[in-house]
């Protein structure tokens, strides 16, 4: 039977842990709010970009652009894996990593290069045979400049036919408590622009010509898609961490309750034993 001192010590330790998980939960909640705001802030731009692309699609055969040309079969691809820098966020990281591994296994590409975003993905794949093209930490990656640099490099390699496709595996932000792993194609661009001219009846003047605007726009579109993925993943990470820490805090309370109960039982047992000893000692002396 453990001594009361041992149990008291354990209760204290669990309480400390609980304070930490509680604090982490609140930090995650605050960061989540900020991450969400950034996501919302990017929405008007997304809407604008989509509109402009759709309107150009009515004038130019957008699907003829090199960045929209699918190559069959896709030989060399880059897979971008987006995780977090830190753990303690439930299955957030392992879900993405597993999904990425499955994705690579299912499609039989000739060669795959990884671009890992997040320390966790970098650390995991460093010890695996798939070559890593680049590893960026989320803390640095969450900016347009980095998204642009990565996108520019990928677009260049794609145009030069060094790579035939780029995929991204990441956690989509479903809601505050739900994340969903997704694998999306970044390059060639998935054509969602309907070329039927009845979408917008507005007949624009284009300056410079529509083709020129299009080839300026598409790289921006890819850049923006990547930036959006990073924002989503960052928000999802905070959501996952919040949920994980909430559960940990609750588990700690349950543990404390159980330990307190045991502690009281042992204490009571010790008191009872002492009384019995005194009583029996007294009766023996009579």
């Amino acid at each position: 039977m453990p001594s009361t001192i041992d149990i008291r010590r354990r209760i204290r330790s669990v309480k400390n842990t609980q304070q930490i998980t509680k604090a982490m939960k609140m930090v995650a909640a605050a960061k989540l709010r900020r991450a969400q705001e950034r996501m919302f802030a990017a929405r008007p731009y997304a809407a604008g970009l989509r509109k402009v692309l759709a309107s150009i699609a009515t004038r130019v055969d957008i699907n003829a652009h090199p960045l929209l040309q699918s190559r069959e079969p896709e030989r060399n691809v880059v897979v971008i894996v987006v995780t977090a820098d830190r753990g303690l966020c439930g299955a957030f990281n392992s879900n993405v990593i597993r999904a990425a591994q499955n994705f690579i296994r299912e499609r039989s590409f000739e060669s795959v290069e990884l671009l890992t975003i997040g320390r966790k993905a970098g650390d995991f794949f460093k010890r695996r045979p798939i070559p890593i093209r680049e590893n960026v930490f989320v803390a640095q990656a969450l900016s347009i400049e980095v998204a642009r640099r990565i996108a520019d490099g990928l677009i260049k390699d794609f145009i030069e036919e060094k790579i035939d496709g780029v995929y991204v595996v990441y956690n989509e932000f479903k809601s505050l408590i739900a994340q969903h792993v997704r694998a999306e194609r970044l390059l060639p661009i998935v054509s969602e622009f309907d070329a039927t001219p009845n979408q917008t009846s507005i007949d624009y003047l284009y300056e410079p010509g529509p083709e020129q605007i299009l080839s300026d726009l598409l790289p921006k579109h890819i850049e923006f898609q990547l930036y959006r993925v990073l924002l989503e993943s960052a928000a999802a990470e905070q959501g996952a961490r919040m949920t994980a820490m909430e559960a940990a805090t609750k588990n700690a309370s349950d543990m404390i309750n159980f330990l307190t109960l045991t502690y009281n039982r042992i204490r009571q047992a010790a008191i009872t034993k002492e009384i019995i000893e005194i009583v029996s000692g007294a009766s023996a002396a009579q």
Binding site: A41, G48, I144, I202, E207, D216
Partner: protein, 139 residues
């Protein structure tokens, strides 16, 4: 004409990070890549790319300025939507910082050949700071 011409333009400037302005204005002058374009209410629909430069917009008799860096603008008779890489309002410009940026960028440019991939980026920084200084002076 069946519909009366709109008398105001709704001007929206968004970047990927924020919505900078969303206001009713009387006139907009955009730094389009082929030269400045003035837009009054009732303008023909137009799509244009933008370069680094000043955008001016007039509300009543006051003219406001801001610096835009690249991007696109969609012009409709009653609306102008600007999707910019970066946008800085005149009130946000720190002339001293812009001047320091200009000097730093100029210095860097001296050491870069025009083939260097960094060249364009630094040059863009230079142009941006020059545009900011331009606005700062007029204030």
């Amino acid at each position: 004409m069946a519909d009366a011409l709109p008398t105001k333009i709704n001007l929206t400037v968004v970047t990927r990070e924020r919505k900078i302005i969303d206001i009713e204005v009387d006139e907009v002058v955009l730094p389009a890549s082929d030269g400045e374009i003035g837009v009054l209410p009732g303008h023909t629909p137009l799509l244009t790319t933008l370069r680094i430069g000043q955008m001016r917009y007039r509300v009543g008799t006051t003219v406001h300025r801001m610096v835009l860096s690249w991007g696109f603008a969609e012009v409709l008779p009653d609306r102008v939507i600007v999707l910019a890489e970066r946008g800085v309002l005149a009130s946000e410009i720190d002339p001293a910082a812009a001047e320091a940026e200009r000097i730093a960028a100029e210095k860097e440019l001296q050491y870069l050949s025009s083939h260097d991939p960094e060249f364009n980026r630094v040059e863009a920084r230079l142009e941006e700071s020059v545009a900011m200084i331009g606005i700062g002076r007029e204030h």
